[in-house]
């Protein structure tokens, strides 16, 4: 998809006013967030596992070239093919080439964020090949021609009424008076429609959550089983993935998988975790005849060893966005590209450039919850700060902000002046807001008060209160 991250501010304003989006986002707290907390409480070793998972990935990244070579060797030995893709264009060409050679007409797809990153659906369609998303959430948004709004729950922005309306519009061969009130009825209909597609597809495309150097395996985790039907029925299985997914051994994979589902949906382990190695073997009655892996770089090697290196540990669980107050307020589409939330705010500028995505690292209150819940302990606020610095250095910061920042910096370097002015301002604001206890509008604070009231200060500055407390203790 073409990025529209430049219009983050307008996107966010529109999202805040979108009643049905707000309704849909309201479910995150009692769903993903509560379930993760439960899963964490149920596993005493969870915090230690986070440290180990982080160590596994750091080790793999430090030896990335060698583990990729080992991985490739094992894929080839098992009869599969590895296609190295420095850019999104290279990846698309490799995929289209396989499709053309096979004379493919339809392609079923399991969920792949790297597939979104390279906009593979648009290019398949351009080549006259029909891509069919089979993950229910991905299918729902494909019907609407929308990008995912969450990396593990792509249709989290939709309500069941919207899904019903879409099904009635698209599934026109089914009787119009059928009952589609409950999610179970909607799921059953999608199952029936997609079952036909699974059986008819020429090629199945999946992503990979992990690659294993020891065995040359790709790993996917799903709850629906769609990824499995995608890869065990068609003649060709293509895995679209990226270079930082490789880990040394099956044991290392398990360490990461132990924190993945718990952080993502709050499940202890996903329903289906599938390890695929090469095409079907001699005597196998099912499985693909061909197995291809597309290994995408697309800017990742530049992140390696840079100030954004830590981001390469990301395992795409979505915990950061589930816990992000900004994501919870505006949803994923406002971010304007494939990866939303805090991880998207760091990754998107790396992949499509800070000129396009400069707003995203600014879309954070730096409350730190993302870093607190990240299973791979990625210091997301710090990485966003790096982008803010780069953006400032590049001169992309608007003049108004620059003046504000200069003013602030000047004040911060002159504490007496700072204390003097705030010592005057606080009692004045407290007096002005005494009657209501809050402000409905205030000069220079329109950005805040347009959406909510500003609580009136109580009259003393933080410094004054601190001094008083110091005298008490």
């Amino acid at each position: 998809m073409r990025p529209h991250s430049r219009s983050f501010k307008n996107n966010a304003s529109a999202a805040l006013k979108d009643a049905s989006l707000q309704l849909a986002l309201g479910g995150i707290k009692n769903g993903f967030v509560a379930n993760r907390a439960k899963a964490r409480a149920n596993l005493p070793e969870f915090e230690d596992l986070r440290d180990e998972a982080r160590a596994v990935k750091e080790h793999a990244l430090a030896h990335l070239d060698l583990y990729l070579e080992e991985y490739e060797k094992k894929v080839t030995a098992s009869g599969g093919h590895v296609h190295w893709a420095p850019t999104a264009t290279d990846a698309r060409e490799a995929i289209l080439d396989i499709c053309r050679k096979a004379g493919a007409r339809t392609v079923t797809k399991g969920k792949t964020m790297v597939g979104e990153e390279i906009a593979i659906n648009d290019h398949l369609e351009g080549a006259g090949i029909t891509p069919v998303e089979t993950d229910l959430g991905e299918y729902l948004i494909q019907l609407r021609n929308e990008p995912p709004s969450h990396i593990i729950a792509p249709a989290i922005h939709l309500t069941k009424d919207q899904v019903e309306a879409d099904f009635r519009k698209i599934h026109t061969t089914l009787p119009y008076d059928r009952v589609l009130e409950e999610p179970a009825q909607l799921v059953a209909e999608a199952r029936t429609v997609l079952r036909e597609q699974f059986l008819a597809a020429d090629i199945g495309i999946t992503g990979a959550n992990l690659l294993i150097a020891e065995t040359g395996s790709s790993v996917i985790v799903t709850n629906e089983g769609n990824g499995d039907l995608t890869q065990c029925l068609p003649r060709i299985h293509i895995v679209i993935t990226s270079i930082e997914k490789v880990v040394p051994t099956l044991e290392d994979a398990c360490t990461i998988l132990r924190v993945l589902a718990r952080s993502a949906t709050g499940q202890e382990w996903t329903t289906y975790t599938t390890f695929s190695t090469g095409p079907k073997r001699e005597g196998d009655p099912d499985g693909p005849d061909e197995y291809h892996v597309i290994l995408l770089d697309n800017g990742r090697t530049e992140m390696l060893g840079s100030e954004f290196h830590d981001m390469l540990r990301c395992i795409r669980c979505g915990a950061c966005m589930n816990h992000c107050p900004v994501y919870n307020a505006v949803g994923g589409h406002a971010y304007g590209w494939v990866y939303p939330g805090p991880m998207g705010a760091v990754l998107t500028p790396s992949l499509i450039g800070i000129d396009e995505a400069g707003h995203l690292p600014n879309a954070s209150t730096f409350c730190g919850r993302c870093e607190a819940v990240c299973p791979m302990r990625i210091p997301l606020p710090k990485l966003m700060r790096h982008w803010r610095e780069r953006e400032y250095d590049k001169g992309n910061t608007p003049l108004f902000y620059k003046i504000g920042l200069k003013l602030w910096a000047f004040m911060a370097r002159h504490p007496r002046l700072y204390q003097g002015l705030t010592g005057l301002a606080m009692p004045a604001l407290a007096r002005a807001g005494r009657r209501r206890g809050r402000f409905k509008s205030l000069p220079f604070a329109g950005g805040w008060t347009r959406h909510r009231d500003l609580p009136a200060p109580q009259g003393k500055t933080f410094q004054q209160l601190w001094r008083e407390r110091g005298q008490i203790s």
Binding site: W84, L136, L229, T270, Y272, P279, L295
Partner: protein
Amino acid sequence: MSAPGKREEVLGAIRRSLAVDGNDSARLKTVQDRIKSHSANLIPKRGQIDHAARIKLFIETLEGQSAHVSRAGSLEDIPQIVADYLLDNNLPAEFRSGEDDLLESIPWDKSPALTRHQGKGVASDAVAISVARSAAAETGTMFLTSGKENPTTLNFLPDTHIAVIRADTILGSYEDAWNALRDVYGIREMPRTVNLISGPSRTADIEQIIVMGAHGPRRLHVIIVD
């Protein structure tokens, strides 16, 4: 397979960014040793318990994940358990399975009403039976391997999936289960597909409400045989 320069382009970019040499023998040895030793990292205590407790944990966890579990004293009991289960769920008394030795040694004629079809899964299958090679009690997760013994399609196409597992192959952790597979397939070798299955298919993609039977089986019935 990719155009010749692309592989070197990516590997070269990695080495430049890491400031490393691809022929550095110390690095190569680190990587080889790690793969060769495939040492376990931290394994949660939860599954490190005696055999009886492991089976109990396996059952409880699977049931918590909406699977149905029953125990068979011997292979002889399995036909009746299957027949009863199908009857209870108002399902046809037929199923498809592969050629696994364990399935071959079950006296299916003890339940004459049951019809057994063999081969890979087809769209019209309502019920399939496969044998799980091993399991990790830690999260109620079974390990199934592809092949003519237990075709992978049987795990996903039918509405109802019945998995038979020997009690002595129910282990504590995934690491234990991988080592059991290494004993069968060899070091650094895998069958085409290893399916780790922990319950019936489900989705929560509509309003985060869990619905069973998204694309794979709506029901998973596990038979533990002593």
